[in-house]
Point group: C2
Chain length 229, copies 2
C-alpha cells in the first residue's frame, strides 16, 4: 500500500445555497478562461499544500462570495474524481455545501467574469461547466434530505426567526406547502430544534409571532418527513 504516489491536483468546489425571495438559490460564477469560458460554474479553488480541506473551503467562500465564517454552515458533501472530468487534466474536487441566511450579493473574484445567485429553477443544467450540473443536483437532493432528519433548516435563517419563517424554509427547499398548525407543533416539540426566546415580532398585519433561535440539537428525532401531509 505504500506504492509510489502520483500527485494529483486537488480542488474544493462549493455549492452555496440560500433563500432569495422564497426561492432556493445557488451561487454561480461565470468563467473567464478556457475551458468553458463564459459558462457558469460552481465557485472553487485549488487546495494549498499546508491548508486543511475545510480551511480551503472557507477561503474560497470568503474570496468568491465575500462570506466570512459567521452565520454560514459549511459541510463536506463528497468528492468527484473521475479521470476525465476536467479537460485540462486530472483534478480531484472535494465538494462542500454552504448554507446561509440573506447572503450578500457577491463580488466576482479571481478568474470570474461575474458572480451571482441563481434561482435553481432558472438554471440551464446543460450549460454548466465541467460536471457541475451533476454535483449541483446531488447537493440539492442532499440538502432536501437533510432537512428531514437534521436541524439544518435553521442555517437558512438569521439568528432570530419565527416558526413561519422556518416553515417557509421547508416549503421553499422541498417545493411543497405544509400545514401551519401541524408544522408549528412538530417544530416546537422536537427536542433541540428551536429555543423560544420569549420575544415577539412586531405585527406585520397579523398576530405577532414568537421569536426562536436554533437549538443545540443536530438530529431531528423523530424526523420531519416529506411526502406526507
Amino acid at each position: 500500500m505504500d506504492a509510489a504516489a502520483a500527485p494529483l491536483d486537488v480542488a474544493v468546489d462549493l455549492v452555496v445555497l440560500t433563500l432569495r425571495g422564497g426561492k432556493l438559490s445557488v451561487l454561480l460564477v461565470q468563467r473567464e478562461d478556457a475551458p468553458f469560458a463564459g459558462a457558469w460554474a460552481l465557485p472553487g479553488g485549488f487546495v494549498r499544500p499546508e491548508e486543511d480541506l475545510l480551511a480551503a473551503a472557507h477561503r474560497v467562500l470568503d474570496s468568491e462570495a465575500s462570506l466570512g465564517r459567521e452565520h454560514t454552515y459549511l459541510e463536506q458533501l463528497r468528492t468527484y474524481g473521475d479521470a476525465d472530468r476536467d479537460p485540462r487534466g486530472r483534478v480531484i474536487s472535494v465538494v462542500h455545501m454552504a448554507l446561509g441566511a440573506n447572503l450578500p450579493d457577491p463580488v466576482s473574484g479571481d478568474g470570474a467574469a461575474d458572480a451571482r445567485f441563481w434561482d435553481l429553477a432558472e438554471i440551464d443544467a446543460g450549460a454548466l461547466a465541467f460536471d457541475h450540473a451533476e454535483i449541483l443536483t446531488a447537493a440539492v437532493e442532499r440538502a432536501r434530505s437533510k432537512l428531514e432528519y437534521t436541524t439544518l433548516a435553521t442555517s437558512f435563517l438569521p439568528a432570530e426567526f419565527t416558526i413561519s419563517q422556518l416553515r417557509g424554509v421547508y416549503e421553499s427547499v422541498w417545493g411543497t406547502s405544509l400545514d401551519p398548525g401541524n408544522f408549528h407543533r412538530k417544530a416546537t416539540r422536537s427536542p433541540g430544534f428551536v429555543v423560544d426566546l420569549g420575544k415577539q415580532t412586531d405585527g406585520t398585519g397579523g398576530r405577532p409571532a414568537r421569536l426562536f433561535s436554533a437549538g443545540e440539537g443536530a438530529i431531528l428525532n423523530p424526523p420531519l418527513l416529506r411526502g406526507g401531509e
Copy 2:
C-alpha cells in the same frame, strides 16, 4: 479560481465491513513499514493518474482483500485531508465503505505484514495508524444510520436469505435485539426491500423459512427506526 495548483498525493482508504459469527467486523492490515510499522490500519492505496476513484477503491479491494466486484457493495463515504494527518507529508484520503457477505479471509498484499477481519469490539482504537480510528468510527456510525433508511442491510447477506438472517444483520450492526414478529411484518411490507422467492429453507430445527432476495429499492420508506421496540 484557476490559480496555480499544487499537486497533492491522493489515496483511497477502505472500511470493509462484514458479519462474522454475528459480529460486525472490519478488515485491517498490519503495516510493514514506517510510519506506524507494526500497527494496524485500514487497507488503502494511492490513486493512479488515469484511474477513477471508484476504480481505485475496487482495485484496492481486490488486491488487499481478494474481493472482486461480485457481491460487494462499495460506496464513497467522505474525504479526509487535514494537512498533518500523515507524517510523511500531505495525503488526501478518499474513504470508501465496502460491505459483503461471508467475505473470505484475506491474503496480505503489498506492504502488509498481515491482514484479517477484526470484531469491532476487540479493536484498540488508540492503536490504529494515522487517523484511522476516527475514520472507522465515522464509517460504522454511517453504516448503522444507513440501515435505517436504506436497503443496505441486504448487502451483508448472500443472494438468498431469510427474514431472520436479515433481522440478524440489524441486530448485529445496531447491537440491539428486535421483535421477530414485528420485524418480519415491517421487512416484508416495506416496498422494494425484499422479494419473496417462493422457496423454503431446509428446516434447521424449526419451521422452514421462506427465502427472499434483495429488492430493487434503495430507500426504505417508511424507515426502520432504531431506538424504538
